[in-house]
Subunit: 152 residues, 2 copies
DNA sequence: TTTTTAATGTTATTAAATAAAAAGTGTTAA
DNA sequence: TTAACACTTTTTATTTAATAACATTAAAAA
């Protein structure tokens, strides 16, 4: 992500937060920025290290966890439950409302692509789940994949 | 799972192991048994505790991890990557070959149902993943659900 | 300004996973 | 039988991940 996009995304994030009555403080913004810059998902401790390398004052993991939770609640960041890592939402600058995100995770280079799976498939899936007597709550899929360059 | 089923499953597991040239030792069998008995997925530490409560000699977590890895490699046990917990395969006594397992995880009571999603859906999914430039490697889905009794 | 809510810091603890090397166990072939 | 080997388990240590409880600071609202 280039500098211009970054600036645009961060200011959009600002707007989103104030709309929801919360504040994107300097530290929160900085951590979001670190995730936006990163090519790969980061663990809470990865984020902590990145933050501390780039800042004079050290932030403890505890605070990072809290901030990640906050960013997640604002839908600015997603947590991959299969790997316990965090990535910035790819659709912050989009205006349309967000579906439940789906993730393609490259098992080689850790690259993650956030995509929208067609409603069709989700519906079918939901249907089969119902047949099994269960109710689908949150159809977030995290799929083990290879990305284009790693598959080659 | 009742006692009869359990015995049958364990002896089938024995056969599977010897067919693959490995051994289902007493400890390995005991840990598989603990998972078969459990209604809910267990973490490696849960398994350790359960084992140690039921045995005179204590087994360290380290050994449990290794045994769980072994059981996983024999397809007797599955690891849920979203929760880092383990469950016994529901199809040990089946004769047909196993597809990649799909799991419905109840967010309330932790109950897990292992199902087969229709090849149809997997294919469509795989297709959409291809469109995004990725290759689906291992279509194991872990879906956040509510089970029948918790949904009521 | 005060007060009160939100955000962050501090300290400590628990849980989860892995690493490396030693010791035990069973199998096989000389 | 036993020496050699492969496999299994134990031991000890360390690293990584996540949470808990309470103190402090900063910002917004009354």
């Amino acid at each position: 992500m280039n500098k211009q996009q970054l600036t645009k995304t961060l200011s959009k994030a600002q707007v989103m937060c104030s709309q929801s009555g919360s504040r994107l403080t300097e530290k929160r913004q900085r951590i979001l920025e670190l995730l936006l810059i990163s090519e790969i998902p980061l663990s809470a401790y990865d984020v902590t290290d990145a933050y501390n390398r780039s800042s004079e004052t050290a932030m403890p993991p505890m605070s990072v966890y809290r901030i990640l939770d906050f960013l997640e609640s604002e839908q600015l960041v997603h947590k991959l439950s299969s790997t316990n890592k965090y990535i910035a939402c790819s659709h912050i600058t989009c205006s349309h409302s967000h579906d439940v995100p789906q993730f393609l995770i490259c098992g080689e280079c850790q690259n993650v692509k956030e995509i929208a799976i067609s409603k069709n498939i989700i519906d079918e899936l939901s249907c089969q789940v119902s047949n099994a007597g269960y109710t689908l709550i949150r159809p977030q899929l995290e799929l083990d994949c290879l990305c284009q360059s790693c598959a080659a």
